[in-house]
Symmetry: C2
Subunit: 196 residues, 2 copies
Amino acid sequence: MMRSIENFRTFIQSYIPLSDEEWEAICSDFKLRSFEKDDLIVEQGKICRHFYFFEEGLIRVFYNIDGNDITKSFAIPPYCFTSKISFRNQVPSEESIQALENTVVWRINYEQYRKLEKIETWNRFMHKLINEIQEFTEKRMLESKIYTAEQNYELLLKRYPAQLMQKIPLKHLASFLGVAPQSLSRIRNKLHTNRS
Amino acid sequence: MMRSIENFRTFIQSYIPLSDEEWEAICSDFKLRSFEKDDLIVEQGKICRHFYFFEEGLIRVFYNIDGNDITKSFAIPPYCFTSKISFRNQVPSEESIQALENTVVWRINYEQYRKLEKIETWNRFMHKLINEIQEFTEKRMLESKIYTAEQNYELLLKRYPAQLMQKIPLKHLASFLGVAPQSLSRIRNKLHTNRS
């Protein structure tokens, strides 16, 4: 299948207007890259060297803390991602990003990203994107505080397509929700019973 | 006491360089305002009409959900704050911001803020500030997920000056940590016993 980066243009234009010239300047360095299921796109302890437009697949962000694998978030395309602190400062990443499905991205390296930062339109796009991510992170923080694991699981079911949810291993969903896998099994069984 | 907005200049300059001309353009509309202990600076359900530079005092951000008062965060000066979603879109706020101590701010209204957004230096400052807030929010989210209430309380003790911590009512600390006030009392007693 022939891929085109036009999806990225459509994504940016859902935030800001974009002229042909601006788009050409933005897209010129992005390169296509594929990852297989379970590949690590970013690895904890190594420097994250790329900024990604996420075209297809499913990813999760996680930490390994004292041997425990803790899922911070899941993401579905289209979106942009990187390991922000690591990428911005070119220091080792405190998190890993893993493909949970065959995943297709367009990426640029740090030097190429620095060139983008000279484009005013790009900065306005990134500003809007970071605002959105910040609002979503705050929302998630509140939800995880005030809702039970069961309610948070139901929110996930609403937020992500069912066929993607089925592809996330139970243990990752459980560590995201902060419960043991057995507890999540009980929650799932309960919800399933209530609905059938 | 005569107040000067120079602290705001120092604050911005800790993020980006600032010429005299840029500073004059940025600061011209900011007005001084004081709040007394317990005053609501932003009220849930009402539109947040200002952007604030926080010069002195102590604030907390909280939600009232089904009659329960849940503390989202505390903040100490110098910093900037607003109820972001409400302010940006001029829609009713989903959160309240309260002064926990006599609090001094410099503020501008929405129309004045829109003028600031035409200043390139201001946008670069805000971009850095939002990045910082985003990183801190993610960090807090991880901490609240992986640490016990006791460990999270110890983090608070490290992060905020002791004399400010003493001014935060127990019930607000407890709702921030997601525990009952009685549990927090036990944690405090235990830490106190261990240290004495």
